[in-house]
Symmetry: C2
Subunit: 138 residues, 2 copies
DNA sequence: CTTATCTTTGTAATCATTACAAATTAGTAA
DNA sequence: TTACTAATTTGTAATGATTACAAAGATAAG
């Protein structure tokens, strides 16, 4: 459904000049809502694109996040993770299995511009135990 | 006002056995609400406690966070930061000057225990431009 | 005092991420 | 096409925060 052409359009919409690598990476991100690390993205693409460099993956994910085509998550203390789903939602990280789950936003964000702060991005992170791990703990 | 004895009591309240190093570090955290990194804490203490090891600072901050005597912040992508103020509040990181500010939480978090998730900790992070940097940008 | 346990220390690794310069690709104009 | 310029990609080598680990030191109980 997400043809290459649509991905090109998406990139352009966010002000990112398309290239084979950028298309592949953006495409991966919109098809894998798994909050992958740069390394995971690289592993998922390198077989189809053998010349792909890890540096390019790092740079491109960073660029896409800066252009707000994807989101950069800091819920995992070990690695930066990226989310191709840019709709408003919170994240949950299980302290046992370390899986990351999407969560509804419970708190509405309101810019505090009155105080002179300009908020361009807000994240809500939760930690705890996911249903499976919680069950296993009992 | 925060005597050594009070710090000992605080540590005990959170289930942390007091020691000279732990008291010094906890004391520092309750007196410096500056969201310091482990390195900053080390630098702030080593002159008064010359044998202090950086490893101890890392381990102790981690322990204190695990026991919920302090909070571990992941709003700064480069370093883990710690907050001695454990009252409910959000954080803001200026993308220009990289200073970290406290922010009010706008709504209470509610655990999603109904779905089987057990939330033990929630953080709300904002990024953008602080009043000073915002003014300077214009 | 002795033994067992807990804590601290210092050094050496780890490893995700970044810096950098060379190589490649794309874009443009003649 | 060709030549020139700019943007992108690549691979390797650093960076630097954090952790692993084992030895040394402190503490508590008997």
């Amino acid at each position: 459904m997400n043809t290459q052409k649509q991905t090109v359009k998406t990139l352009q919409k966010f002000g990112v000049k398309p290239s084979a690598q950028r298309i592949a990476i953006m495409d991966y991100m919109t098809k894998h809502y798994i909050h992958p690390t740069a390394d995971t993205v690289y592993s998922g693409l390198v077989s189809k694109m053998p010349t792909l460099s890890k540096t390019t993956v790092y740079n491109t994910l960073s660029l896409l996040a800066q252009k707000k085509a994807i989101r950069e998550l800091h819920i995992d203390e070990k690695n930066v993770r990226y989310d191709g789903d840019i709709s408003q939602h919170a994240h949950f990280c299980c302290k046992k299995c370390e899986k990351i789950f999407d969560m509804p936003i419970m708190v509405e964000f309101k810019a505090l511009e009155a105080n002179g702060f300009v908020i361009t991005e807000s994240h809500q992170y939760h930690w705890g135990y996911c249903p499976d791990c919680n069950k296993a703990l009992k």
